[in-house]
């Protein structure tokens, strides 16, 4: 090959080859620079949540949990859980295994026939030592510490689920106490439920907040039915009023639960490889590497959900749905550092693992908060009747017995459906229109007839 002067063809050929290689190299460099920038921003995001100089790792959640709880009532609580399991197992069937149709859940006032009374009485009698033990907890309002061994997402939640057993025990004993006309005992049982599943409960994860709400809701259900059946004296109602007027900070509860979830999940995302997720499923340790922008997006999304105000309302549920969507669409934007992620470019699948749960969780909050409002409304109706010897014309009148109008709001943001029937009984339904079935959960609305 003889030597010729360099021409544009030479440059053209070299450019054809070099240009893609240079662009490709440039993409890698750009992605890595972006990685560094995003990494700094991620550190700032983390510090804005957990404070200067702190990071979110697998010790964050257990540390917070230990700080928020007290270990004083632990031994008693543990023995209650154990004995309740044994007691429920002894009675078997509906007492041991949860099923909606299994439980004997009608509130039967004294003097009325009740087929199940014998067996429930036997159950309650045998449960008395456990109730005695629970009573020893009533004096303190410290959040009960459960000695968890923290294992990322797989922290032992079995015991949390066993709280339902205690709720079942309290419920059955309550039915027995009401039927026997032993109101003092029934009120102690309500106080016990309030102590165990009320404001003093400190959840460590989203799941135990759900269990707590279910247990508390079981107690409120008992209260509503007993109020409707008019089993309480004026003195009893005073005590019940104290329990029901205990304010619930739904927003704080919401925030704690969502942040707990974040503190549980984030360290596993952060540790390059989802070790806890993979290992506990018996699968291999997946080589997953998230870009800092993905992690930031995860954190910001979680925070945006956790800080939504108005928990327990329809407005809140809608806002969570919207925030989920925004979180998803925000996460869809591929920042350059994600080119260096392994294995996939898009990591919305990580977010998809949690967002449906958050919306359902918000619905559960709404249900629980409405249950609380409904219970307070039913209670106020009875108070009104006791004070003025008549039912109010509308729920708005309940302000005369100190119930703010905001409490009478139902599922769809209207007042609960209310009327007085031809027998002179008050009929209240836990939604604005009693003629439609509330479809979110497929359950019919709760309809209570308050005896004269």
């Amino acid at each position: 090959m003889s030597k010729h002067p360099l021409t544009s063809r030479d440059f053209g050929l070299i450019t054809i080859v070099l240009l893609p290689l240079l662009i490709f190299g440039g993409m890698i460099v750009a992605s890595m620079i972006r990685w560094r920038i995003e990494d700094r921003e991620l550190t700032q995001s983390i510090e804005s949540i957990v404070g200067q100089g702190n990071t979110i790792d697998s010790t964050t959640l257990p540390r917070l949990y230990d700080e928020r709880t007290s270990d004083e009532p632990t031994a008693t609580w543990k023995s209650i859980l154990a004995a309740t399991e044994a007691h429920n197992a002894k009675f078997g069937g509906p007492f041991a295994w949860e099923s909606e149709t299994d439980s004997y859940d009608s509130v039967v006032p004294p003097g009325e026939d009740w087929v199940e009374s014998k067996i429930i009485a036997r159950y309650a009698e045998d449960a008395q030592p456990i109730i005695d033990k629970i009573e020893t907890l009533l004096g303190s309002d410290e959040a009960i510490w459960v000695p968890f061994v923290f294992e990322g997402l797989y922290t032992n939640l079995n015991e949390v689920q066993q709280m339902r057993g205690v709720a079942r025990l309290l419920h059955n004993c309550f039915l027995d106490a009401v039927h026997r006309g032993n109101n003092d005992r029934a009120i102690i049982l309500i106080q016990a439920s309030e102590r165990l599943f009320g404001n003093d409960y400190q959840p460590s994860m989203l799941v135990d907040e759900l269990v707590r709400m279910a247990c508390y809701s079981s107690m409120e259900n008992d209260l509503r039915r007993s109020i409707a059946a008019d089993v309480w004296s004026d003195g009893d109602r005073e005590q019940i009023g104290v329990i029901l007027s205990e304010p619930f900070d739904w927003d704080a509860k919401w925030r704690t639960a969502i942040e707990s979830e974040m503190f549980a999940v984030f360290p596993t995302l952060f540790s390059d490889g989802m070790p806890s997720l993979g290992l506990n499923n018996g699968a291999t340790n997946l080589p997953i590497m998230f870009a800092p922008s993905t992690l930031s997006s995860y954190l910001e999304g979680e925070q945006s959900i956790a800080t939504i105000r108005g928990a327990g309302t329809k407005r809140h549920v809608d806002a969570v749905g919207r925030a989920n969507k925004e979180w998803m669409s925000g996460a869809a934007k591929i920042s350059l550092d994600r080119w260096m992620q392994i294995p996939s470019l898009d990591t919305r699948w990580v977010i998809s693992m949690t967002t449906p749960a958050y919306e359902a969780f918000a619905v559960a909050f709404r249900r629980s908060a409405n249950d609380h409002r409904f219970t307070r409304t039913v209670f106020a109706l009875r108070e009104f009747r006791a004070k003025f010897q008549s039912w109010p014309e509308s729920l708005g009148e309940l302000s005369r017995v100190g119930l703010p109008n905001s409490e009478t709001q139902a599922w769809d943001d209207g007042p609960f459906a209310y009327h007085i029937n031809q027998d002179g009984e008050a009929v209240i339904v836990d939604q604005a229109r009693s003629d439609i079935t509330y479809t979110d959960e497929g359950n019919p609305p709760e309809r209570l007839v308050l005896k004269k």
Binding site: L6, T7, R9, D10, F11, L13, V17, P20, L21, I23, F24, M27, I28, S31, S58, P62, K78, S79, L81, A82, A83, E85, A86, K90, F91, G92, G93, P94, T101, D102, V115, K118, I119, P129, I130, D132, K133, V146, V149, F150, E151, G152, S271, P275, S276, L279, T284, N285, A331, I334, W339, M340, Q341, I342, P343, S344, L345, D346, R348, W349
Partner: protein, 819 residues
């Protein structure tokens, strides 16, 4: 018959020549198949959760006849045309028809050999259903999602062989011919899908997988004779004298080609640009097709990620996903094996062009294509992922880094294979397979052996370095045997490197000093052998059928619930039937499962609460005695877990005995009996030591592992999956050593060691089961938390409390009881 005989006897040399041509392909494919079959059975151990691994294994032997079928034509005809031996052969007194027939028969013999091997390997690895069930056109019965039946595969391979011949006779360029074979190979599938789609459009009837296979079989039967005939015609057109005119024309073209090739060459001023021009110009079509395949394989599967399912795309997407790595490896193959590359390199070598320069220039074009495809892919994938409505689709959009790493491995390995094999036909077929095997190996080592990524990145550079080092010899065609030696070295590093790292990790687990171990192990064996079988502690359940027979929708009738309560055992002897046996044989050991111990503990707590309420010592002392008898018998067990279960009961006893209500009954014989049955700390630790050793010994039978998992293996699941089996031995030594250290009771340094051995790496020590956070609490509170961790109650204050109880019994009452 005589014609056949004459065909064989007169042309023995011809048969021999053809068979020899085919031998390397057969040998390579058998070698690869054998390697894969040896490696595959090892995989399921580690690849838990990959449910279809068995079916995948079944596919491996089937793939090789198919690959042979695709390559036979290229090797027997294409190579002959490439090396121009075809002209020499044409000059011999040999009838073209005879020659064509010999080639075809040789190919079919090779195919039959491949099938014989495939079917026998299938028979070896086929478990459920056996091989007989595979001789059908529809999917094999009893093997869910099993590969297609054998007749379809066999028919397809014959069809593919004929396609191979047709393409090679028809097209001179081997690479193009192989592409045509692949396209023709997919034809029956495409026709079958089209037929089924038309059926759907016309009749609104969706055909199942079995019908689709039947359709495909029918199409193969139809198109095979057609391709056979076309192939024969193409062969005759190439070989017969009457086509001399066109042959002459072809010859003239061929002689003109170099001239026009050089005459159209631009005058270039840089050797770099000349080399680049050369490598583009030498195979523009091959490069173009490969690049298109790559971009098609990367982009089209992304386009199909929509909510609306398109059947045709859905069926073809997996195939397209395979196309881009295949194309990537072909780019690698083309570096050293494109049309006439060898001659051109020799030409450059003769002119003293630097091998490094040639090397870089040869790689420049394919790498630029690769880079361009990656750029296009990244832009498309980024946009695609941003507009996609769902996050789930994003899971399958690989990042730039992921796809670049996969492509890089395919490329480097394939270019190395093509330099070593030197034949285009072989390289095109074998290159992608070897590259895919190396890629699979890398992924497997990363997942199962947890080989560091940086190591794999470095190792993936080796094939590039090898071809660079061999370049001067390759250009001079003096690369053999060096290239073979280099192939052995590179293969050794690729395979051996991750294994060496894994071996180092296993070595690093540590263990015990050999002499100490031997002595201890002998002791452990003797303990294990001298202990009789333990009594199993079981629980009597009430009449459970009462609740099981009820109708779900109804609540339980009261009489049923009453029946249940009446049937429920109320005393310890009724509830724990094995208690009687334990009492009859006080020296016997007992064992229980964790669930029963948890249930017993719950019951004991309930009975204790009842006692607190009714102060009925007589009935409660029966439960206390039962707990004591069970604890004593569990303590005699030589299973480590039973020692921990005995801890649970002793903790409960210690906690209960310190209650003032119980202390009030300390003069009772039952109280005394319970305290006397409790072991002192020394006795307890001696029992634990025996159990730890015997549990350790139970892991071995002779010098071989026993497959069953015992409690020492807790936490093994946190080790790299495949290494777990290898680490089991040294790890259990270490756990035993740590446990023995704990039993000496001199320090608490064993706690973090035990944590590290037993817990997930993500569980921090200060929040794990051996942390002060828990151990500072009364043990009774911890029983219901995480029951898996071994030795979690060892050395805690409850042991001292028991010693105190025993001492108090000897010396008289003290005033330190609580409650």
């Amino acid at each position: 018959m005589s014609t056949t005989e004459s065909l064989i006897s007169r042309n023995r040399w011809l048969w021999w020549k053809e068979l020899r041509m085919l031998a390397p392909l057969i040998a390579l494919l058998i070698g690869i198949a054998a390697t894969m079959l040896v490696v595959m059975p090892e995989l399921p151990n580690s690849a838990q959760g990959i449910g279809r691994i068995n079916d995948f294994r079944m596919l491996v032997p089937l793939v090789f006849p198919v690959l042979f079928a695709a390559g036979a034509g290229a090797v027997l005809v294409g190579q002959e045309r490439d090396l121009r031996t075809i002209d020499w052969m044409s000059s011999l007194p040999l009838r073209p028809r005879q020659w064509v027939l010999v080639k075809l028969v040789v190919a079919l013999i090779g195919l039959a050999v491949m099938w014989a091997i495939a079917v026998s390997s299938l028979a070896l690895i086929s478990d459920a259903g056996g091989l007989a069930s595979r001789w059908r056109i529809s999917p094999a019965q009893g093997l869910s999602n099993g590969p297609i039946g054998l007749p379809l595969w066999i028919a397809h391979s014959v069809y593919l062989t004929l396609c191979g011949f047709y393409a090679s006779w028809k097209i001179r360029d081997q690479f193009h011919a192989i592409l045509l074979v692949l396209a023709l190979g997919c034809l029956p599938l495409v026709l079958a899908i089209l037929a089924s789609e038309s059926l759907y459009v016309l009749q609104r009837h969706r055909v199942g997988l079995a019908d689709l296979q039947g359709l495909m079989f029918a199409w193969i039967v139809v198109v095979t004779p057609l391709v056979g005939w076309l192939s024969y015609r193409a062969a005759m057109a190439t070989l017969l004298p009457q086509s001399g005119q066109s042959k002459a024309k072809h010859h003239v073209d061929a002689s003109v080609l170099p001239q026009s090739f050089w005459s159209t060459a631009p005058r270039l001023g840089s050797s770099w640009s000349s080399l680049i021009w050369q490598s583009i110009r030498s195979a523009p079509l091959a490069l173009g097709i490969t690049a298109s395949c790559m971009i098609l394989g990367m982009v089209v599967p992304l386009s199909s990620l929509s909510d609306q399912t398109n059947t045709l795309l859905e069926v073809l997407s997996p195939l397209l996903l395979l196309i881009s790595p295949l194309a990537m490896s072909w780019l690698g193959v083309l570096v050293f094996q494109n049309d006439g590359a060898a001659d051109r390199l020799r030409f450059l070598a003769d002119r003293g062009v630097s091998p490094t320069k040639v090397y870089v220039a040869r790689h420049a074009v394919p790498l630029a294509i690769f880079a361009s495809c990656l750029i296009a892919y990244t832009i498309f994938a980024t946009r695609r992922s941003e507009v996609s409505s769902t996050g789930f689709g994003g899971l399958v959009i690989p990042s730039l880094l992921t796809i670049a790493m996969v492509g890089w491995v395919m490329y480097t390995v394939a270019q190395f294979v093509s330099q070593v094999l030197r034949t285009l036909a072989l390289s095109v077929i074998v290159g992608p397979i070897v590259a895919a095997m190396v890629l699979g190996w890398f992924i497997w080592t990363r997942l199962s052996l947890q080989t560091p990524t940086w190591f794999l990145v470095i190792v993936s550079l080796l094939p590039m370095l090898a071809t660079w080092w061999l370049m001067p010899r390759f250009m001079d065609k003096r690369d053999r045997p060096h290239s073979f030696l280099m192939a052995v070295v590179v293969a050794a590093v690729i395979v051996g490197g991750p294994i060496a790292i894994a071996a180092w990790r296993i070595q690093n687990v540590g263990g015990m000093n050999a002499t100490v171990r031997d002595d201890l192990f002998a002791e452990a064996q003797s303990i294990r052998k001298s202990s009789p079988n333990p009594i199993i502690i079981n629980l009597a359940h009430g009449a459970e059928q009462i609740f099981r027979t009820r109708v779900n929708e109804e609540s339980v009738p009261v009489d049923q619930a009453e029946k249940w309560i009446q049937s429920y055992p109320s005393t310890p002897t009724q509830w724990i039937p094995s208690l009687a046996e334990l009492r009859e044989r006080p020296a016997a050991a007992a064992t229980a499962d964790d669930n029963n111990i948890a249930v017993i503990f719950d019951r004991l707590m309930l009975e204790r609460m009842k006692f607190e309420a009714d102060a009925n010592w007589e009935s409660f002392s029966a439960w206390l005695s039962a707990a004591s008898d069970i604890a004593r018998a569990l303590r005699k067990s030589i299973q480590w877990k039973d020692q921990d279960r005995a801890d649970v009961l002793e903790i409960w006893i210690a906690d209960t005995m310190s209650m003032s209500m119980v202390q009030a009954n300390r003069s009772d014989t039952a109280y005394e009996r319970v305290v006397r049955a409790l072991p002192t700390k020394t006795m307890r630790n001696e029992s634990r030591r025996r159990a730890v050793l015997a549990t350790w010994a139970a892991q071995f039978k002779g010098k071989k592992f026993v497959g069953y998992r015992n409690s020492i293996d807790n936490g093994l699941e946190y080790q790299p999956p495949y290494l777990a089996t290898w680490m089991q031995w040294p790890r259990s030594d270490l756990i035993v050593a740590t446990a023995l250290e704990a039993l000496q009771g001199e320090s608490i340094s064993w706690l973090p060691k035990m944590h590290e051995l037993m817990q997930a790496p993500s569980t921090p020590f200060q929040y794990g089961p051996y942390a002060a956070r828990l151990r500072d609490r009364p043990a009774i509170e911890l029983i219901r938390a995480n029951g898996k961790s071994l030795a979690r109650f060892w050395g805690m204050p409850w042991e001292d409390e028991i010693d105190q109880l025993i001492a108090d019994l000897r010396t008289g009452p003290q005033e330190n009881s609580h409650e």
